[in-house]
Protein backbone atom coordinates (compact mmCIF):
# COMPACT_ATOMS: atom_id res chain seq x y z
CA UNK A 1 0.00 0.00 0.00
CA UNK A 2 1.10 3.55 -0.47
CA UNK A 3 3.67 4.43 -3.05
CA UNK A 4 7.15 3.03 -2.56
CA UNK A 5 8.50 5.67 -4.98
CA UNK A 6 8.28 8.09 -2.06
CA UNK A 7 11.23 6.25 -0.55
CA UNK A 8 13.44 8.06 -3.04
CA UNK A 9 12.42 11.37 -1.49
CA UNK A 10 12.05 10.48 2.18
CA UNK A 11 14.67 11.39 4.79
CA UNK A 12 15.41 8.06 6.45
CA UNK A 13 17.84 7.07 9.17
CA UNK A 14 18.42 4.09 11.41
CA UNK A 15 17.44 4.56 15.00
CA UNK A 16 18.16 2.30 17.95
CA UNK A 17 15.45 1.03 20.27
CA UNK A 18 17.47 2.48 23.15
CA UNK A 19 16.69 5.98 21.93
CA UNK A 20 13.00 5.18 21.56
CA UNK A 21 12.35 3.77 25.06
CA UNK A 22 9.34 5.29 26.78
CA UNK A 23 7.64 6.52 23.61
CA UNK A 24 4.11 6.03 22.36
CA UNK A 25 3.68 4.66 18.84
CA UNK A 26 0.40 5.05 16.95
CA UNK A 27 0.47 1.90 14.85
CA UNK A 28 -1.38 1.61 11.56
CA UNK A 29 -3.09 -1.62 12.66
CA UNK A 30 -3.96 -3.04 9.26
CA UNK A 31 -0.53 -2.37 7.89
CA UNK A 32 1.08 -4.00 10.92
CA UNK A 33 -1.19 -7.05 11.00
CA UNK A 34 -0.85 -7.49 7.28
CA UNK A 35 2.92 -7.71 7.64
CA UNK A 36 2.56 -10.51 10.13
CA UNK A 37 -0.01 -12.34 8.05
CA UNK A 38 2.12 -12.15 4.93
CA UNK A 39 5.64 -12.49 6.34
CA UNK A 40 5.72 -14.25 9.69
CA UNK A 41 3.16 -16.86 8.93
CA UNK A 42 4.15 -17.21 5.31
CA UNK A 43 6.00 -20.46 5.21
CA UNK A 44 3.64 -22.55 7.23
CA UNK A 45 0.41 -24.16 6.20
CA UNK A 46 -2.78 -22.27 6.82
CA UNK A 47 -4.26 -25.39 8.37
CA UNK A 48 -2.16 -24.68 11.43
CA UNK A 49 -3.99 -21.43 12.11
CA UNK A 50 -7.44 -22.49 11.10
CA UNK A 51 -9.96 -23.58 13.69
CA UNK A 52 -12.08 -26.70 13.39
CA UNK A 53 -14.85 -24.30 12.36
CA UNK A 54 -12.75 -23.19 9.38
CA UNK A 55 -11.85 -19.70 10.65
CA UNK A 56 -8.35 -18.46 9.92
CA UNK A 57 -6.83 -16.88 13.00
CA UNK A 58 -3.19 -16.46 11.96
CA UNK A 59 -3.59 -12.87 13.23
CA UNK A 60 -3.50 -14.18 16.80
CA UNK A 61 -0.11 -15.76 16.19
CA UNK A 62 1.05 -12.52 14.57
CA UNK A 63 -0.07 -10.54 17.63
CA UNK A 64 1.63 -12.85 20.10
CA UNK A 65 4.85 -12.73 18.10
CA UNK A 66 4.74 -9.04 17.26
CA UNK A 67 3.68 -7.37 20.49
CA UNK A 68 6.74 -8.35 22.58
CA UNK A 69 8.91 -6.18 20.35
CA UNK A 70 7.08 -3.09 21.62
CA UNK A 71 7.00 -4.09 25.27
CA UNK A 72 10.60 -5.28 25.44
CA UNK A 73 11.78 -1.91 24.21
CA UNK A 74 9.45 0.00 26.49
CA UNK A 75 7.30 1.30 23.65
CA UNK A 76 3.56 1.67 24.12
CA UNK A 77 1.63 0.86 20.96
CA UNK A 78 -1.75 2.39 20.23
CA UNK A 79 -3.30 0.44 17.37
CA UNK A 80 -5.34 2.48 14.93
CA UNK A 81 -7.83 0.52 12.83
CA UNK A 82 -9.13 1.65 9.47
CA UNK A 83 -12.70 2.84 9.47
CA UNK A 84 -14.91 2.89 6.40
CA UNK A 85 -12.89 2.84 3.21
CA UNK A 86 -12.66 6.21 1.53
CA UNK A 87 -14.77 6.23 -1.59
CA UNK A 88 -11.92 7.20 -3.89
CA UNK A 89 -9.99 4.22 -2.72
CA UNK A 90 -12.66 1.81 -3.91
CA UNK A 91 -10.87 1.30 -7.20
CA UNK A 92 -7.71 0.31 -5.38
CA UNK A 93 -9.56 -2.00 -3.02
CA UNK A 94 -11.33 -3.58 -5.96
CA UNK A 95 -8.06 -4.00 -7.83
CA UNK A 96 -6.46 -5.59 -4.81
CA UNK A 97 -9.39 -7.94 -4.41
CA UNK A 98 -9.12 -8.97 -8.03
CA UNK A 99 -5.41 -9.60 -7.61
CA UNK A 100 -6.12 -11.77 -4.65
CA UNK A 101 -8.74 -13.75 -6.48
CA UNK A 102 -6.27 -14.31 -9.29
CA UNK A 103 -3.65 -15.38 -6.78
CA UNK A 104 -6.17 -17.73 -5.18
CA UNK A 105 -6.78 -19.42 -8.54
CA UNK A 106 -3.08 -19.77 -9.16
CA UNK A 107 -2.63 -21.04 -5.63
CA UNK A 108 -5.06 -23.83 -6.27
CA UNK A 109 -3.26 -24.66 -9.49
CA UNK A 110 0.07 -24.66 -7.70
CA UNK A 111 -1.27 -26.96 -5.04
CA UNK A 112 -2.52 -29.36 -7.69
CA UNK A 113 0.92 -29.31 -9.28
CA UNK A 114 2.45 -29.96 -5.88
CA UNK A 115 4.58 -26.78 -6.09
CA UNK A 116 4.92 -26.02 -2.37
CA UNK A 117 7.08 -22.92 -2.65
CA UNK A 118 4.86 -21.26 -5.18
CA UNK A 119 1.83 -22.27 -3.13
CA UNK A 120 3.31 -20.71 0.03
CA UNK A 121 4.10 -17.51 -1.84
CA UNK A 122 0.62 -17.26 -3.20
CA UNK A 123 -0.94 -18.19 0.08
CA UNK A 124 0.68 -15.08 1.56
CA UNK A 125 -0.94 -12.92 -1.05
CA UNK A 126 -4.36 -14.38 -0.54
CA UNK A 127 -4.34 -13.55 3.16
CA UNK A 128 -7.13 -11.16 3.91
CA UNK A 129 -8.46 -9.50 6.99
CA UNK A 130 -11.67 -11.38 7.56
CA UNK A 131 -14.42 -10.37 9.97
CA UNK A 132 -13.09 -13.01 12.37
CA UNK A 133 -9.60 -11.52 12.15
CA UNK A 134 -11.01 -8.08 12.93
CA UNK A 135 -12.99 -9.34 15.88
CA UNK A 136 -10.35 -11.60 17.40
CA UNK A 137 -7.62 -8.97 17.05
CA UNK A 138 -9.66 -6.47 19.04
CA UNK A 139 -10.70 -9.06 21.62
CA UNK A 140 -7.09 -10.07 22.12
CA UNK A 141 -5.91 -6.47 22.49
CA UNK A 142 -8.70 -5.94 25.03
CA UNK A 143 -7.49 -8.89 27.09
CA UNK A 144 -3.95 -7.58 27.06
CA UNK A 145 -5.25 -4.07 27.78
CA UNK A 146 -3.35 -2.71 24.78
CA UNK A 147 -5.02 0.50 23.61
CA UNK A 148 -6.59 0.77 20.17
CA UNK A 149 -8.89 3.19 18.45
CA UNK A 150 -11.13 3.13 15.40
CA UNK A 151 -10.31 5.69 12.73
CA UNK A 152 -13.18 7.33 10.87
CA UNK A 153 -11.41 6.44 7.59
CA UNK A 154 -7.72 5.76 6.89
CA UNK A 155 -5.88 4.38 9.90
CA UNK A 156 -2.63 6.01 8.76
CA UNK A 157 -4.34 9.40 8.56
CA UNK A 158 -5.67 9.08 12.09
CA UNK A 159 -2.34 7.79 13.42
CA UNK A 160 -0.52 10.68 11.73
CA UNK A 161 -3.02 13.12 13.19
CA UNK A 162 -2.42 11.76 16.69
CA UNK A 163 1.31 12.16 16.20
CA UNK A 164 0.84 15.72 14.98
CA UNK A 165 -1.22 16.51 18.06
CA UNK A 166 1.49 15.06 20.27
CA UNK A 167 -0.66 12.18 21.53
CA UNK A 168 1.86 9.80 19.99
CA UNK A 169 5.60 10.26 19.56
CA UNK A 170 5.75 8.21 16.37
CA UNK A 171 3.54 6.62 13.76
CA UNK A 172 4.33 2.95 13.17
CA UNK A 173 3.84 1.95 9.53
CA UNK A 174 5.71 0.48 6.60
CA UNK A 175 3.84 2.86 4.40
CA UNK A 176 5.47 6.03 3.07
CA UNK A 177 2.02 7.64 2.93
CA UNK A 178 2.34 8.71 6.55
CA UNK A 179 4.55 11.52 5.20
CA UNK A 180 1.63 12.70 3.09
CA UNK A 181 -0.69 12.58 6.09
CA UNK A 182 1.75 14.85 7.91
CA UNK A 183 3.20 12.41 10.46
CA UNK A 184 6.27 14.20 11.91
CA UNK A 185 8.12 10.93 12.61
CA UNK A 186 7.36 7.46 11.32
CA UNK A 187 8.98 4.24 12.48
CA UNK A 188 9.33 1.65 9.75
CA UNK A 189 10.39 -1.98 10.07
CA UNK A 190 8.80 -2.46 13.45
CA UNK A 191 7.89 -5.95 12.32
CA UNK A 192 11.39 -6.82 11.12
CA UNK A 193 14.46 -7.98 12.96
CA UNK A 194 16.95 -5.35 13.98
CA UNK A 195 16.60 -1.63 14.47
CA UNK A 196 13.73 0.36 13.00
CA UNK A 197 14.09 3.01 10.36
CA UNK A 198 13.05 6.55 11.21
CA UNK A 199 11.31 8.66 8.57
CA UNK A 200 11.39 12.37 9.33
CA UNK A 201 8.90 14.71 7.63
CA UNK A 202 10.64 18.02 8.38
CA UNK A 203 13.98 16.61 7.28
CA UNK A 204 12.37 15.33 4.09
CA UNK A 205 10.97 18.76 3.30
CA UNK A 206 14.24 20.47 4.17
CA UNK A 207 16.22 18.02 2.06
CA UNK A 208 14.33 19.05 -1.07
CA UNK A 209 13.50 22.58 0.02
CA UNK A 210 9.77 22.07 -0.48
CA UNK A 211 6.63 22.65 1.56
CA UNK A 212 4.43 19.89 2.95
CA UNK A 213 1.74 20.76 0.35
CA UNK A 214 4.32 20.46 -2.41
CA UNK A 215 5.30 17.00 -1.16
CA UNK A 216 1.65 15.93 -1.39
CA UNK A 217 1.48 17.37 -4.92
CA UNK A 218 4.59 15.43 -5.94
CA UNK A 219 3.04 12.24 -4.58
CA UNK A 220 -0.20 12.79 -6.49
CA UNK A 221 1.76 13.19 -9.72
CA UNK A 222 3.67 9.98 -9.04
CA UNK A 223 0.62 8.08 -7.82
CA UNK A 224 -1.00 7.37 -4.44
CA UNK A 225 -3.47 4.88 -2.98
CA UNK A 226 -6.17 7.13 -4.42
CA UNK A 227 -4.88 7.68 -7.96
CA UNK A 228 -2.63 5.87 -10.41
CA UNK A 229 -0.34 8.83 -11.12
CA UNK A 230 0.87 10.08 -14.45
CA UNK A 231 2.69 7.72 -16.71
CA UNK A 232 6.30 8.64 -17.19
CA UNK A 233 6.50 10.89 -14.13
CA UNK A 234 8.68 9.49 -11.39
CA UNK A 235 9.60 11.12 -8.08
CA UNK A 236 12.57 13.07 -9.47
CA UNK A 237 10.64 14.52 -12.38
CA UNK A 238 7.69 15.33 -10.14
CA UNK A 239 9.95 17.08 -7.62
CA UNK A 240 11.51 19.19 -10.32
CA UNK A 241 8.18 20.02 -11.91
CA UNK A 242 6.50 21.02 -8.65
CA UNK A 243 9.44 23.19 -7.68
CA UNK A 244 9.36 24.82 -11.09
CA UNK A 245 5.62 25.42 -11.28
CA UNK A 246 4.87 25.90 -7.61
CA UNK A 247 2.13 23.35 -7.10
CA UNK A 248 0.10 20.54 -8.63
CA UNK A 249 -2.15 22.89 -10.60
CA UNK A 250 0.85 24.68 -12.06
CA UNK A 251 2.35 21.41 -13.22
CA UNK A 252 -0.92 20.14 -14.69
CA UNK A 253 -1.45 23.44 -16.54
CA UNK A 254 2.09 23.65 -17.84
CA UNK A 255 2.09 20.09 -19.09
CA UNK A 256 -1.51 20.07 -20.17
CA UNK A 257 -2.31 17.09 -17.98
CA UNK A 258 -5.35 16.01 -16.03
CA UNK A 259 -5.85 13.96 -12.88
CA UNK A 260 -9.35 12.89 -11.96
CA UNK A 261 -10.56 14.28 -8.62
CA UNK A 262 -7.17 15.92 -8.05
CA UNK A 263 -8.59 18.46 -5.60
CA UNK A 264 -10.36 15.81 -3.54
CA UNK A 265 -7.30 13.60 -3.45
CA UNK A 266 -5.23 16.54 -2.26
CA UNK A 267 -7.77 17.22 0.49
CA UNK A 268 -7.71 13.59 1.57
CA UNK A 269 -4.05 14.04 2.51
CA UNK A 270 -4.10 17.63 3.69
CA UNK A 271 -7.41 17.44 5.55
CA UNK A 272 -8.38 13.79 5.95
CA UNK A 273 -11.32 12.56 7.99
CA UNK A 274 -9.93 12.13 11.50
CA UNK A 275 -11.39 12.22 14.97
CA UNK A 276 -10.49 13.93 18.24
CA UNK A 277 -12.84 11.61 19.99
CA UNK A 278 -10.42 9.12 21.46
CA UNK A 279 -9.25 8.43 24.93
CA UNK A 280 -6.23 6.27 25.27
CA UNK A 281 -5.17 4.62 28.51
CA UNK A 282 -1.44 4.00 28.21
CA UNK A 283 -1.20 2.08 31.45
CA UNK A 284 -1.26 -1.52 30.28
CA UNK A 285 -2.66 -4.00 32.76
CA UNK A 286 -2.96 -7.31 30.91
CA UNK A 287 -4.85 -10.44 31.83
CA UNK A 288 -2.30 -12.89 30.46
CA UNK A 289 -4.07 -16.06 31.52
CA UNK A 290 -7.29 -14.98 29.83
CA UNK A 291 -5.35 -13.94 26.71
CA UNK A 292 -3.58 -17.27 26.52
CA UNK A 293 -6.78 -19.21 27.02
CA UNK A 294 -8.47 -17.09 24.35
CA UNK A 295 -5.83 -17.99 21.79
CA UNK A 296 -5.24 -21.61 22.74
CA UNK A 297 -8.61 -22.86 24.01
CA UNK A 298 -11.14 -20.67 22.29
CA UNK A 299 -9.40 -20.29 18.93
CA UNK A 300 -7.52 -23.58 18.92
CA UNK A 301 -4.05 -22.27 18.16
CA UNK A 302 -1.33 -24.81 19.01
CA UNK A 303 -0.07 -23.89 22.50
CA UNK A 304 3.56 -24.53 21.51
CA UNK A 305 3.24 -22.07 18.65
CA UNK A 306 2.54 -19.17 21.02
CA UNK A 307 4.36 -20.31 24.18
CA UNK A 308 7.54 -18.30 23.57
CA UNK A 309 5.61 -15.19 22.54
CA UNK A 310 3.50 -15.26 25.69
CA UNK A 311 6.61 -15.78 27.79
CA UNK A 312 8.15 -12.68 26.22
CA UNK A 313 4.98 -10.66 26.75
CA UNK A 314 4.79 -11.74 30.36
CA UNK A 315 8.44 -10.99 31.07
CA UNK A 316 8.33 -7.58 29.42
CA UNK A 317 5.02 -6.47 30.90
CA UNK A 318 5.36 -7.59 34.49
CA UNK A 319 8.77 -6.02 34.97
CA UNK A 320 8.39 -2.27 35.40
CA UNK A 321 11.12 0.25 34.61
CA UNK A 322 12.56 2.77 37.06
CA UNK A 323 11.75 5.60 34.65
CA UNK A 324 8.15 5.22 35.76
CA UNK A 325 9.19 6.91 39.00
CA UNK A 326 11.37 9.68 37.60
Amino acid sequence: MGNADLRDLAALSDVSFDELGGSVVAVDAHNWLYRYLTTTVKWTSDAKYTTSGGDEVANLVGLVQGLPKFFEHDLTPVFVFDGGVTELKDAEVEARREQKEKAQERLEEARERGDAVEAARLEARTQRLTAVIHETTRDFLDLLDVPYIEAPAEGEAQASYMARRGDADYVGSEDYDTLLFGAPFTLRQLTSKGDPELMDLDATLAKHDISYEQLVDIAILVGTDFNPGIKGIGPKTALKAVKEHGDLWGVLDARDLHIDHADRIRDLFLDPPVTDDYDVDLDIDPDLEAARSYVVDEWEVDADEVARGFERIEESLVQTGLDRWT
Partner: protein, 247 residues
Protein backbone atom coordinates in the same frame (compact mmCIF):
# COMPACT_ATOMS: atom_id res chain seq x y z
CA UNK B 1 43.72 16.03 37.17
CA UNK B 2 43.29 12.82 39.07
CA UNK B 3 45.75 11.03 41.27
CA UNK B 4 44.81 8.62 44.04
CA UNK B 5 45.98 5.73 46.16
CA UNK B 6 43.39 3.29 47.46
CA UNK B 7 43.33 -0.16 49.02
CA UNK B 8 42.60 -2.97 46.58
CA UNK B 9 39.65 -4.25 48.60
CA UNK B 10 37.94 -0.84 48.69
CA UNK B 11 38.37 -0.35 44.95
CA UNK B 12 37.12 -3.86 44.23
CA UNK B 13 34.04 -3.40 46.42
CA UNK B 14 33.25 -0.20 44.57
CA UNK B 15 33.69 -1.69 41.09
CA UNK B 16 31.76 -4.87 41.92
CA UNK B 17 28.71 -2.94 43.01
CA UNK B 18 28.47 -1.25 39.61
CA UNK B 19 29.57 -4.08 37.32
CA UNK B 20 26.58 -6.22 38.31
CA UNK B 21 24.42 -3.77 36.33
CA UNK B 22 26.50 -2.31 33.51
CA UNK B 23 29.59 -3.05 31.42
CA UNK B 24 30.75 0.53 31.11
CA UNK B 25 30.22 3.56 33.30
CA UNK B 26 31.21 7.14 33.85
CA UNK B 27 33.24 7.91 36.95
CA UNK B 28 32.98 11.43 38.31
CA UNK B 29 36.23 12.53 39.88
CA UNK B 30 34.87 15.21 42.17
CA UNK B 31 37.08 17.17 44.53
CA UNK B 32 35.69 15.51 47.63
CA UNK B 33 34.59 12.11 46.34
CA UNK B 34 34.52 9.65 43.49
CA UNK B 35 30.95 9.11 42.24
CA UNK B 36 29.23 6.68 39.88
CA UNK B 37 25.63 6.49 38.86
CA UNK B 38 24.38 3.95 36.34
CA UNK B 39 21.29 2.08 35.26
CA UNK B 40 21.12 -1.24 33.42
CA UNK B 41 20.04 -1.20 29.76
CA UNK B 42 16.50 -2.34 30.62
CA UNK B 43 16.05 0.50 33.13
CA UNK B 44 15.25 -1.92 35.92
CA UNK B 45 18.21 -1.65 38.29
CA UNK B 46 20.16 1.46 39.24
CA UNK B 47 23.24 2.07 41.34
CA UNK B 48 24.30 5.30 42.98
CA UNK B 49 27.76 5.12 44.51
CA UNK B 50 30.07 7.53 46.24
CA UNK B 51 33.47 6.95 47.74
CA UNK B 52 34.65 9.79 49.96
CA UNK B 53 38.13 11.22 49.52
CA UNK B 54 38.84 10.07 53.07
CA UNK B 55 38.40 6.43 51.97
CA UNK B 56 41.60 6.81 49.94
CA UNK B 57 45.17 6.84 51.27
CA UNK B 58 45.52 9.96 49.15
CA UNK B 59 43.14 11.64 46.74
CA UNK B 60 43.47 14.59 44.40
CA UNK B 61 40.84 15.38 41.78
CA UNK B 62 39.33 18.43 40.16
CA UNK B 63 35.93 17.35 38.90
CA UNK B 64 36.73 15.52 35.68
CA UNK B 65 34.75 12.64 34.21
CA UNK B 66 36.22 9.44 32.79
CA UNK B 67 34.57 6.50 31.07
CA UNK B 68 35.75 3.00 31.92
CA UNK B 69 35.19 -0.57 30.90
CA UNK B 70 34.42 -2.12 34.27
CA UNK B 71 35.48 -5.69 33.63
CA UNK B 72 38.90 -4.47 32.43
CA UNK B 73 39.37 -2.39 35.53
CA UNK B 74 38.13 -5.23 37.74
CA UNK B 75 40.61 -7.62 36.12
CA UNK B 76 43.44 -5.24 36.88
CA UNK B 77 42.28 -4.69 40.46
CA UNK B 78 42.06 -8.48 40.74
CA UNK B 79 45.86 -8.66 40.29
CA UNK B 80 46.31 -7.11 43.73
CA UNK B 81 46.16 -8.87 47.09
CA UNK B 82 43.48 -7.41 49.31
CA UNK B 83 46.01 -5.61 51.53
CA UNK B 84 47.80 -4.04 48.56
CA UNK B 85 47.54 -0.42 47.62
CA UNK B 86 46.61 0.59 44.10
CA UNK B 87 47.87 3.84 42.58
CA UNK B 88 45.72 5.52 39.98
CA UNK B 89 46.78 8.46 37.85
CA UNK B 90 45.00 10.01 34.90
CA UNK B 91 47.08 11.18 31.97
CA UNK B 92 45.01 14.07 30.63
CA UNK B 93 46.83 14.17 27.31
CA UNK B 94 46.58 10.53 26.31
CA UNK B 95 43.27 10.03 28.18
CA UNK B 96 44.68 6.90 29.72
CA UNK B 97 44.63 5.73 33.30
CA UNK B 98 47.95 4.59 34.75
CA UNK B 99 47.55 1.92 37.39
CA UNK B 100 50.35 0.66 39.63
CA UNK B 101 50.15 -2.31 41.95
CA UNK B 102 53.29 -3.45 43.76
CA UNK B 103 55.63 -2.90 40.82
CA UNK B 104 53.04 -3.93 38.23
CA UNK B 105 52.23 -1.07 35.94
CA UNK B 106 49.19 -1.03 33.65
CA UNK B 107 48.00 1.60 31.21
CA UNK B 108 44.25 1.46 30.69
CA UNK B 109 42.65 3.09 27.65
CA UNK B 110 39.56 5.01 28.72
CA UNK B 111 36.24 5.25 26.91
CA UNK B 112 34.78 8.53 25.67
CA UNK B 113 32.25 9.40 28.40
CA UNK B 114 29.88 10.78 25.75
CA UNK B 115 29.60 7.32 24.21
CA UNK B 116 28.34 5.90 27.50
CA UNK B 117 24.68 5.94 28.30
CA UNK B 118 23.56 9.05 30.14
CA UNK B 119 23.52 8.90 33.90
CA UNK B 120 19.95 8.27 35.06
CA UNK B 121 17.79 10.56 37.14
CA UNK B 122 17.24 9.20 40.61
CA UNK B 123 13.61 8.16 41.08
CA UNK B 124 11.68 10.22 43.52
CA UNK B 125 10.55 7.69 46.09
CA UNK B 126 8.85 8.10 49.39
CA UNK B 127 8.97 4.63 50.89
CA UNK B 128 7.03 3.95 54.08
CA UNK B 129 8.93 0.98 55.51
CA UNK B 130 12.58 0.70 56.48
CA UNK B 131 14.27 -2.52 57.44
CA UNK B 132 17.86 -2.69 58.61
CA UNK B 133 19.41 -6.15 58.66
CA UNK B 134 22.70 -7.96 58.28
CA UNK B 135 23.90 -8.75 54.80
CA UNK B 136 23.98 -12.46 55.58
CA UNK B 137 20.33 -12.46 56.68
CA UNK B 138 19.33 -11.08 53.32
CA UNK B 139 21.68 -13.46 51.58
CA UNK B 140 19.93 -16.37 53.28
CA UNK B 141 16.48 -15.22 52.17
CA UNK B 142 17.61 -14.67 48.58
CA UNK B 143 19.36 -18.04 48.37
CA UNK B 144 16.27 -19.83 49.64
CA UNK B 145 13.97 -17.96 47.25
CA UNK B 146 16.24 -18.76 44.33
CA UNK B 147 15.66 -22.47 44.95
CA UNK B 148 11.99 -22.25 44.08
CA UNK B 149 11.34 -19.24 41.85
CA UNK B 150 12.73 -16.51 39.65
CA UNK B 151 11.07 -13.75 41.60
CA UNK B 152 10.90 -12.73 45.21
CA UNK B 153 8.39 -10.92 47.34
CA UNK B 154 9.48 -8.51 50.05
CA UNK B 155 6.76 -7.41 52.43
CA UNK B 156 6.05 -6.03 55.85
CA UNK B 157 3.33 -7.39 58.08
CA UNK B 158 2.43 -4.37 60.17
CA UNK B 159 0.43 -6.31 62.75
CA UNK B 160 3.02 -9.01 63.26
CA UNK B 161 5.76 -6.34 63.19
CA UNK B 162 7.76 -8.50 60.85
CA UNK B 163 9.58 -8.40 57.53
CA UNK B 164 9.07 -11.32 55.15
CA UNK B 165 11.18 -12.56 52.26
CA UNK B 166 9.00 -14.94 50.26
CA UNK B 167 9.03 -16.88 47.03
CA UNK B 168 6.34 -18.90 45.39
CA UNK B 169 7.40 -21.53 42.88
CA UNK B 170 5.36 -23.78 40.64
CA UNK B 171 5.40 -26.46 43.29
CA UNK B 172 7.38 -25.24 46.28
CA UNK B 173 7.25 -22.14 48.45
CA UNK B 174 9.69 -20.57 50.89
CA UNK B 175 9.39 -17.77 53.36
CA UNK B 176 11.81 -16.17 55.76
CA UNK B 177 10.25 -14.27 58.63
CA UNK B 178 12.32 -11.65 60.45
CA UNK B 179 10.69 -10.03 63.46
CA UNK B 180 11.64 -6.73 65.04
CA UNK B 181 13.93 -8.65 67.41
CA UNK B 182 15.79 -10.29 64.53
CA UNK B 183 16.42 -6.97 62.81
CA UNK B 184 18.93 -4.23 63.55
CA UNK B 185 16.26 -1.60 63.05
CA UNK B 186 12.69 -1.62 61.78
CA UNK B 187 10.24 1.09 60.72
CA UNK B 188 6.95 -0.60 59.99
CA UNK B 189 4.71 0.59 57.16
CA UNK B 190 2.52 -0.65 54.32
CA UNK B 191 4.98 -2.43 52.03
CA UNK B 192 4.63 -5.33 49.65
CA UNK B 193 6.48 -5.59 46.33
CA UNK B 194 7.66 -8.27 43.94
CA UNK B 195 11.14 -8.27 42.35
CA UNK B 196 13.13 -10.16 39.78
CA UNK B 197 15.59 -12.48 41.49
CA UNK B 198 18.03 -12.16 38.60
CA UNK B 199 18.66 -8.57 39.56
CA UNK B 200 18.44 -8.97 43.31
CA UNK B 201 20.85 -11.91 43.26
CA UNK B 202 23.43 -9.85 41.39
CA UNK B 203 23.04 -6.88 43.70
CA UNK B 204 23.26 -9.15 46.71
CA UNK B 205 26.50 -10.62 45.38
CA UNK B 206 28.12 -7.19 45.58
CA UNK B 207 27.03 -6.59 49.18
CA UNK B 208 29.69 -7.65 51.70
CA UNK B 209 28.19 -10.26 54.04
CA UNK B 210 29.22 -8.32 57.13
CA UNK B 211 27.59 -5.12 55.87
CA UNK B 212 24.46 -3.64 57.37
CA UNK B 213 21.80 -3.35 54.67
CA UNK B 214 19.00 -0.81 54.86
CA UNK B 215 15.97 -1.79 52.79
CA UNK B 216 13.44 0.90 51.98
CA UNK B 217 10.22 -0.64 50.76
CA UNK B 218 6.75 0.36 49.58
CA UNK B 219 3.68 -1.24 48.04
CA UNK B 220 4.41 -1.97 44.37
CA UNK B 221 7.26 0.53 44.43
CA UNK B 222 10.94 0.21 43.64
CA UNK B 223 13.04 -0.97 46.55
CA UNK B 224 16.09 0.91 47.77
CA UNK B 225 18.99 -1.07 49.19
CA UNK B 226 21.64 0.88 50.96
CA UNK B 227 24.93 -0.29 52.40
CA UNK B 228 28.36 1.01 53.17
CA UNK B 229 31.85 -0.24 52.43
CA UNK B 230 35.40 1.06 52.74
CA UNK B 231 35.10 1.53 56.52
CA UNK B 232 31.90 3.49 56.19
CA UNK B 233 33.28 5.94 53.68
CA UNK B 234 31.88 4.25 50.60
CA UNK B 235 28.12 4.46 50.07
CA UNK B 236 26.03 2.42 47.67
CA UNK B 237 22.31 2.73 47.02
CA UNK B 238 20.67 0.27 44.68
CA UNK B 239 17.22 0.87 43.29
CA UNK B 240 15.28 -1.96 41.72
CA UNK B 241 11.95 -1.58 39.88
CA UNK B 242 9.21 -3.99 40.93
CA UNK B 243 7.39 -6.58 38.90
CA UNK B 244 3.66 -6.15 38.61
CA UNK B 245 1.87 -8.50 41.00
CA UNK B 246 -0.86 -10.58 39.48
CA UNK B 247 -3.71 -11.37 41.79
Amino acid sequence: MFKAIVSASTLRDALDSVSVLVEECKIRLNEDELAIRAVDPANVGMVDLSLEAAAFESYEADGGVIGVNLSRLEDIAGMANSGDLIQLELNEETRKLHIQIEGLSYTLALIDPDSIRQEPDIPDLDLPAEIVLEGNQMDRGIKAADMVSDHIRLRVDEEAEAFYIEAEGDTDDVDLKLTREDLIDFTSGPADSLFSLDYLKDMNKAIPSDAEVTIELGAEFPVKLHYEFGEGMGHVTYMLAPRIQSD
